[in-house]
Structures are given as C-alpha cells and as structure tokens.
Amino acid sequence: MKNTSLIPVVLVGFLLFYASTDFPEWGDPQSPASSSPVSSHFIAKTGVDTEVPNMVTAVLADYRGFDTMLETVVVFIAGMAVLAILRNFSRKKPVKRGHEVSVEPDLIVTNTVRLVVPVIQIFSFYVLAHGHVSPGGGFQGGVLMGASFILIALSWDLERALTRFPINRCMVVAALGILLYAGIGVLSMALGGEFLDYAELEKVLPVSREMARYHAMLGVEIGVGFTVTAIMFALYANLSSRGRLEGGL
C-alpha cells in the first residue's frame, strides 16, 4: 500500500516538471503576469486611486477587498467550527488525564510575560494601523494580539487568560469584526456605490474620494484585526483543553 501511493506522487511530480518547461524567464518584464494591464495599473495608479503608498495593502483591502472579506469569514468559520465540534455542554465532570499536573506558575516566566505582553500589544496596534505604509495590516496585527493572550495562557494557566478574554466575548468580537468589514461595504452601498466602494464614503467623511478609500481601508483592517485576534485565542483555548476550557496544556 505504501508503495502504491508513490505512483500519484511521481505522476504529479512529472506533471509539475512538464509544466515548468514553458514558464517565462525568471523576472522577465515581458512575461504576461508582469506586462498585463492589471499589474501595470496596480503599479502606476495605486497612489492615484487610493493615496496608499503600500501597493500590497491597497490590492488586498481595496481592489480585491471582497476576497479579503471572505478570507476573514474563513477565519471566523474556522473558530466557529472548532467550537461547534469540541464544545461539550453536558454537565458531566471531566476525567483528569494522566499527564496533567498542577504546578504553580513560574516566577521568572510570569514576570517576563508581565513585561512583554504590553509591548506585544502596542506593537500589534502599530502593525495594524501602519499597514498602509509599511508591511503589516489586520491579519498580522490580529495574530500578534492573539499571541499575547496565548502567552498569558501558557505562562499562568488557561483560566487566567479566560478571565481576561472569556470565550463568549471572543465570539462576539470575532462577529463584530466581520460586521465592521461588511458594514463598511453596506454603508458605501447605501451611499450609492457598489458593495465595498469605499470612495462613496466621502459623503460622510470630510475628505476627498481617494482619502475616503484610505480611511475605509483602515476601518476594514481593524475589522480583520478583531476577528483574527479573537479566533486565534478561541482556537488555542479550545484545542488545548479539548473544548473543556480548563486545565489546558
């Protein structure tokens, strides 16, 4: 059986090699992907359309903002699905597993974490808000923020992290993130544009059409940040404790 699974591996490998025989030269400026009107538009006009210096953020949050909204929904679904599968509402008292031991949190570890967590959280705000100019954005900022809560759970215990960020509040924050993203889309629709046409927000913001896109991108990035933060921590809390939300790793 083990050897038969080699056949598809070799076959796919052959296909991939065969496909690469016709690739454009590495870095060829004449290749279709580099010379297409779409890439040229992104490179030449991003600043004109949106006032955003970071092209990647503009493509992610504005030109292809609908994709990003759905990716945020995917993150939300992941959290929802894990909760749906693992959460156990029966009142039965869980059996203690063999390898579980209770130890006092370590003094050095906890004190280091006390120092590090605020720095991580402030940095995550910076990454989130600075996504327009430098690498960063909602996903990265959200992951950093989520990591700070996971660090608390690792160095004390899960209960302590959960008193600061209860699991129900996690799901509320995650849902609010999507609500914020899609809400900005619907607002621009209500003001007369298409869904996610941020330029229409100039009618409620005291700025130009381009700057309206700029600010709306920050808005949707915050929405993404909310969802990613909450789901990161919810996934850790549920997976590490098999859905019991106590004890943990």
């Binding site: 679904i77 899609a182 298409e194």
Partner: protein, 521 residues
C-alpha cells in the same frame, strides 16, 4: 436595492450568520427564525436577479465590487460577479434548497445537536453564502476563496454529527484540501501564462495569443484544475470521502450538502470548460477529453453496483449521488450540444430530487429511529405523505415521466446517440436499470412481510407482522413535511415545465458553438 441584488444574494446569509452567532449567545431560540428569514431574503434577491438577467439584452448582469468599473479601469483590477443564465439558474437552486432545508432543520437540529444552534446556523448560512458565490463569481481566485468558505463550513457541519462523523470528516478534510490545492495550483499556472485572474480576461487572452493552446503549462493548469474539481465533486475513483461523510452527518447537514456540493462543483467544471478555457481548448487541444468519457463509464457502472450492495437508505443514496455525478460529467465530456443541455438540466433536476430523497430519509429516521431496509415495513400506512414525497424523488432518479429526471436523462441519452458515444449510453441505461431495482426493492420491503434475510414475519394474506399500533397513521411534524412536499412538487413542476428551462439553457449555450447543435435555430 435592485442594482445591488447580486450582492444581496451573498449579504443576506452573511449578515444572518453574524447575527445568529451574536444573538444566539443570548437566546438560542432566535437562531432558527434568523436562518429562515435570511435564506428567504437571499432567495428573493435571487429571483430579482433572475428577472434582471432575463430582461437584459445580452442575458447577463455584471456586478463589480468596490466600484472598479470596466469603463475607467482595466478588466480584472477589481472582483467581478457575472450572472449569466446558467449562473443564476444554479444560484436559484442553491438558494431554494437552502430555504427548504432551513425550514426543515428546526426539529432535527434541536434533537441531534442540542444547545448548538448558535454554531449550527451561522455555519449553515455561510455554507449557502459560499455555494451561491461559487455560482456567481467571475474571478478564478475569488472562486477558490468561496470554495474554501463552502468547504470549511461543510467540515464543521458534518463533524457535528455522531461520533463516527469526526473520522469521516477527517477523510473529507484531507481529500478536500488536496482538491482545493490542486485547483489553486492550476489557477497559479493560469496566472503565470495569462496575467489575469478574471475569467473573461483569461478567455480573451487565450483566444488572442498564438501558441498558448499547445503550451505545456496551460495543459497542466487545465488538468490540475479539472482534477481538483473532480475530487471535490466525488467523481468515482476519487469519491472515497463522500459516503461516510454524508451518512454520519446530522440530518439537516446531509439534506443541505448532498443536493448541492457535488452539483455546484459540476457547474464549476462547466464554467471552466466553456467560459474560462473555451470549447476549442478544452475539447480539442487536450488529451484529457479522450480519456475522461471512458472513466465516466467506469464511474457510473461501479457506483451503481455499489449502491446495489447497500442495506441502508442513506448509504444507498450517497452512492446514487456518486453515480449521478458520473452522468453529468459524462454529459459534458461527450462534447455534444444535447449532452451539455442534458448535463446542465440534470444539475437542476438532480439537486431537486436528491433533496426530496434526503428530506424523506430524514423524516423516516426521525419516526422509525432507523433507515435500514428491515425497519421499513408498513411505512406507507404509517406515513403516506412522507413516502409519497420520497418516492417522487426516487422515480425522478429512475427517470419516470413526468418527473424532471426523465427529461434530463432524455437529453443525456440523445446527446450520447448524436455523438455516437454508445459506451456512455449503455452505462446510463445500465445504471437506470439498477435504480429501478433499488427503488422497487424498497417498495417491496415496505409492502411485504419478508425481511432482508428472507424470513417471513407475517401470517400471510397481506399481514406484515406488525401490531395496529405500529401501522397507525402518524406523520412527521409540519415543519419537516412541508419542505419535503414542496420539493416533490418542484420535481414534478420542473418536469412539466421542462421546455421553459431548456429554452433558458439553450439561450445560454447559443454562443458556444458545440457540435450537434440543431440547425433550425
């Protein structure tokens, strides 16, 4: 509202999902009404879009997200939704099935996944969002994102079922991920060679560039995309995930997924073949098109034989789905006008009849606590309405007129004859015979006292060996019965008004120039 109707098709279930997860934490009772209302809203938006598509001169409604309009920006800068007749017909099927199952789901969800309504309905609604989006999108990468939305919600919904559902889901996760990755890799190759992700853009680029049809990269991209989609639609040798996943899933989940997921993937294949790669490339430049029709024959025959071996309704139905997938893939790849009409029509009718069968099986499971063939004796006197609905679906699968299954199969067989693909026709007829055996055996089990192992349990003269208590009229609850009966009515209605549907499909197929098209038009 009117000009944004396409966006609302996705936004109703999306906001419904967020709201039901927020409000469901406070009170689980509100989840079901939110689910039904947002499914209803989406269905309304779908109808509105259908009217706009039919009214517009080129039968097409284009919607550009983010206001990146085609007149001031190059095509492909933003994300485009294109509703042509095919897309909107399949979307309506998705939304209709979604609405039906949303109403139906109230009692099964309360019973099978108690206290988890707050998780079930958000996932349920996002599943509808994903599937409807797959039908409407005009962007190859956006399609991947939507496939991911639909797949992940599917994993969650299935794994909420019995203990064995988790293991079945794990298989599904692995195979589904492989399928999605192959698709994504294919899209990556397409982007390298064409420089755009927009479906119309890709198609125009292939048509305008010399030598692209012979390019190995394009050929491999095509094979990878097809392979990915074939895994996702459970085409026969790649079907291993489907039977267990749909059997062990909660009732409401299998009712939603079984009619839709495989069918929507066949739609994706048709979209790739016709409007992305184009007819010339798909059927004439690739080796694929000569191999696949023979694989189809193997697929149909083996799936039908495996269905014959099952002794439990839900399992039998899952193998029927696999066989039906073979029909539709075959209809596309025999490369013929009638085959294509049949395939598209069969997507529509198969979704409706599979819905009937699964809704019926869910009701039987609720009332009899089993769906094994042995537990079915006397069901016609106990639940006459349920069984009528169930067998309308069954007769449609067999292909008895005036159900819609008859007409779609008619077109498939016509296509096979015109294209002279006799092997495909024989496979179709063989599997029809098998389905006759399957459903009449079921009727026999219900009416006769003899059980599966051949014992006679009655005392003769029509006695089934049951007490009065066991055969007394006792129908399922209305919230479950009404969706079943309306699905059965739709199966009959599509059959009776089949010409209207075929007309719409023919308008859609008109520009594609498939062989065997009747000259009279």
């Amino acid at each position: 509202m009117m000009e944004n109707s396409i966006a609302w098709i996705l936004l109703f279930p999306l906001f419904g999902a967020v709201l039901s997860s927020l409000l469901g934490m406070a009170n689980r009772k509100v989840c079901w009404p939110i689910g039904v209302l947002s499914a209803l809203g989406a269905f309304g938006a779908g109808i509105m879009t259908l009217i706009r598509v039919i009214d517009s001169p080129d039968h097409m409604v284009v919607y550009l997200f983010g206001g990146w309009t085609l007149d001031s920006f190059p095509r492909g800068v933003g994300i485009e939704f294109r509703a042509d007749l095919l897309a909107i017909l399949i979307t309506l099927i998705v939304l209709g099935v979604g609405l039906c199952v949303a109403i139906y789901s109230k009692l099964p969800v309360e019973q099978e996944t108690p206290e988890k309504e707050g998780f079930f309905y958000p996932l349920f609604l996002l599943q509808i969002t994903g599937l409807a989006g797959i039908c409407l999108t005009g962007d190859a990468f956006n399609l991947y994102v939507l496939i991911e939305v639909a797949a992940l919600t599917g994993y969650g919904l299935i794994a909420m079922g019995s203990k064995r559902a988790a293991a079945a889901t794990f298989n599904y996760v692995i195979l589904g991920t492989i399928g999605a990755s192959l698709y994504l890799l294919g899209v990556g190759y397409l982007y390298i060679k064409t420089g755009t992700l927009n479906m119309v853009g890709i198609n125009e680029f292939i048509g305008a560039t010399e030598g692209l049809k012979e390019s190995p990269t394009m050929q491999v991209a095509f094979v990878l995309i097809c392979l990915g989609i074939l895994i996702k639609m459970a085409f026969f040798p790649l079907h291993a995930w489907l039977p267990n996943a749909y059997c062990h899933a909660p009732t409401a989940t299998s009712c939603l997924l079984a009619p839709l997921v495989t069918k929507v993937m066949i739609y994706v294949m048709i979209r790739m073949v016709l409007t992305v790669f184009g007819v010339d490339f798909s059927f004439e430049s690739t080796l694929w098109s000569s191999v696949l029709p023979w694989l189809v024959v193997i697929a149909i025959v083996s799936a039908a034989v495996m269905a014959l071996a099952q002794r439990e309704i839900k399992r039998m139905l899952t193998y029927l789905i696999v066989a039906e997938v073979g029909y539709m893939v075959g209809g596309v790849w025999i490369y013929n006008y009638y085959g294509m009409v049949g395939s598209i029509f069969h997507i529509i009718s198969d979704a409706c009849m599979t819905l009937c069968l699964f809704l019926g099986a869910g009701l039987i499971l609720r009332k009899c606590k089993t769906t094994r063939f042995d537990g079915l004796r006397g069901l016609f006197s106990k639940m006459p309405l349920t069984m009528t609905g169930f067998f309308v679906g069954g007769f449609s699968i067999i292909g008895l007129p005036p159900t819609c299954g008859f007409f779609s199969k008619w077109y498939l067989i016509t296509g096979a004859m015109v294209a002279e693909r006799w092997e495909y026709m024989v496979a179709l007829l063989f599997s029809t015979m098998v389905m006759v055996v399957l459903f009449f055996r079921l009727i026999e089990r219900i009416h006769l006292a003899v059980n599966e192992s051949g014992e006679n349990l009655g005392k003769g003269h029509g006695d089934l060996g049951l007490t009065k208590e066991q055969t007394r009229f006792s129908e399922g609850p209305l919230t479950m019965l009404v969706p079943l009966l309306s699905a059965a009515a739709v199966v009959l209605a599509i059959g009776i008004y089949n010409q209207e549907f075929v007309d719409l499909i023919e308008i859609f197929l008109d520009p594609f120039d498939l062989p065997g098209e009747p000259l009279s038009k």
